[in-house]
């Protein structure tokens, strides 16, 4: 546990020292969402209908932005190799990286999302479900993204390849996240969708660190 | 004959479906055969050296 905490604090400290990352993700998210009223017109009903989808898709893309750098810096300067020799299992290290990624990406997105939902005339009844769905879904994005990031370490055009690999795997999260948010906005039950998101989170917590660690090991061979 | 090709009015869906299958699978077969022959020829050239 202390190994996990130490790695987590290390990654967070690095992230904040660089400063840019959190601001980048939030800025991209906000700007991308704001583009939609300009693109589809300011009609409140139309915007309200597409609000859940727009928020989720742009959150997804924003989370994708910083995935490429998840392991890259450590891989390039050799610290990944050093970390893999530590007594802390590689799977735990991956979890720590995902936690740091979520704290600097998913969590800020979840906090900003309600404000942007206002801009899109999202139905107020949907806010609790929207926030709950994002809280459950964004960690899954970090976890699945970690698998993609580990697989594409050192690949040619890693960024594009990462998107190709990860976006299809994101689709279930997107489907249930939007379903939960929209259901609540329409006054319907969002619990089944939220429970499915929770199941996805549980499954990816169990499987993703293992898969990402396997990918890291063969990247270091 | 004309009745067969008309496929009960669904001709413009049925025939493209069969067409896609034939074109894609035959195309894949052709691609695989061409690649095989090319590799064989290149290997023959290299082995004769």
């Amino acid at each position: 546990m202390s190994g996990f905490a130490a790695l987590l604090t290390r990654d967070l400290r690095l992230a904040f020292r660089q400063g840019g990352d959190v601001a980048n993700v939030v800025a991209f998210f906000a700007l991308a969402v704001i583009l939609f009223p300009f693109g589809v017109g300011p009609d409140p009903d139309l915007l309200a209908r597409i609000a859940a989808g727009v928020l989720w898709v742009t959150a997804l893309l924003a989370a994708l932005l910083s995935l490429e750098r998840l392991f890259d810096a450590d891989y390039q300067d050799g610290s990944l190799e050093a970390l893999s020799l530590m007594p802390v299992p590689l799977e735990i290290q991956v979890l720590a990286k995902c936690a740091a990624h979520w704290l600097t990406t998913g969590l800020p997105l979840t906090i900003i999302a309600p404000l942007l939902a206002l801009v899109l005339h999202f139905n107020a009844a949907g806010y609790p479900a929207l926030i709950a769905a994002l809280l459950l879904g964004t960690p899954v994005l970090s976890l699945i993204g970690a698998i993609g990031a580990a697989l594409t370490l050192g690949a040619r055009r890693a960024g594009v390849l990462l998107s190709l690999l990860v976006l299809p795997l994101y689709i279930p999260v997107l489907i249930f996240g939007v379903a939960a948010s929209e259901a609540a906005a329409l006054g319907l039950h969002s619990r089944p969708h939220l429970l499915l998101l929770a199941a996805l989170l549980a499954a990816s917590l169990a499987l993703a660190p293992w898969a990402a660690a396997a990918a890291l090991r063969q990247a270091l061979e | 004959m004309a009745q067969f090709f008309a496929m009960g009015g669904y001709a413009r869906f049925v025939w493209p479906a069969y067409g896609v299958a034939v074109i894609v699978l035959a195309g894949l077969l052709a691609h695989s055969l061409i690649g095989y022959r090319r590799a064989q020829r290149a290997l023959d050239v290299e082995e004769r050296r």
């Binding site: 698998i147 697989l151 594409t152 050192g154 690949a155 040619r156 055009r157 890693a158 390849l161 190709l164 690999l165 976006l167 299809p168 795997l169 689709i171 489907i175 499987l207 898969a211 396997a214 990918a215 063969q218 990247a219 061979e221 | 067969f4 496929m7 009960g8 009015g9 669904y10 869906f13 049925v14 493209p16 479906a17 069969y18 896609v20 299958a21 894609v24 699978l25 894949l28 077969l29 695989s32 055969l33 690649g35 095989y36 590799a39 064989q40 290149a42 290997l43 290299e46 082995e47």
Partner: protein, 236 residues
């Protein structure tokens, strides 16, 4: 298992098997298509549009089967370091992608007259589309590294991770209310489809299976020849 590890042995074995599998594939597909187009009856609800089923369903079966083969080969490659396993997986991937494409295209052509739409985002169609992207991702990943071995191993991991999609594809029509119809062949209690329609379906599926075998052996032989070529040129 170790007996088949020898590439030379595989070349000899496949040289014997190829003509037989090719003949079987040609005969079965010919008989199957003839039966589907000329002998099988029209459906009382769908009329002649049901003929698309004879292309759509076998390619759907092969799409999932080839992925399973690819995933097993990948697991064998990673766990036992079997030399042919990576080649098998990478040879299977384009074949699976083609079958998936045929499944999606024929399904779309079937959907428009029957459901009134070319596409719908239900669980079955979405998960098969994800399968298609998994195939593409596998091929892209395997070719993305200067060190080919690294690419093969990364792609193998992806193939195994993507296996979760297979049960989703199979059971999606049971777990969710989908527009796509439920299973009528591979189900508990046996097929519900009439034998006059079932036999061309099974014959074409068998033909496609032999076609897969032919394509796989061809592409594996090509890969092995190319490896030999590289060894000769660059002296491994």
């Amino acid at each position: 298992m170790q007996r088949f590890a020898n590439p030379a042995r595989f070349m000899r074995l496949s040289a014997v098997l190829l003509p037989w599998c090719a003949t079987a594939a040609a005969v079965l597909i010919a008989i199957g298509f003839y039966g589907a187009l000329f002998i099988a009856p029209p459906d009382y609800q769908q009329g002649e549009a049901v003929k698309i089923m004879y292309v759509h369903v076998p390619s759907a079966w092969l799409a999932s089967l080839v992925y399973a083969v690819m995933a097993v080969a990948s697991a064998v490659a990673l766990i036992w370091r079997h030399p042919l396993a990576h080649i098998a997986a990478e040879s299977a991937a384009p074949i699976g992608a083609c079958f998936t494409f045929v499944c999606l295209a024929s399904g779309s052509l079937w959907g428009e007259p029957m459901w009134g739409t070319w596409w719908v985002w239900d669980a079955r169609l979405t998960s098969v589309l994800v399968l298609f992207f998994l195939y593409l991702g596998f091929i892209a990943l395997a070719n993305a590294f200067d060190d080919r071995t690294r690419g093969s191993r990364a792609a193998a991991i992806l193939a195994i991770v993507g296996v979760v999609n297979l049960p989703i594809i199979k059971f999606s029509v049971d777990w969710w209310n989908t527009l796509h119809q439920k299973a009528s062949v591979f189900r508990m209690g046996g097929p519900t489809i009439a034998i006059s329609m079932l036999w061309p379906l099974l014959v074409i599926a068998a033909g496609f299976l032999f076609l897969f075998a032919v394509l796989l052996m061809l592409r594996m032989r090509t890969a092995l020849l190319r490896a030999k070529l590289r060894a000769l040129r660059f002296g491994t």
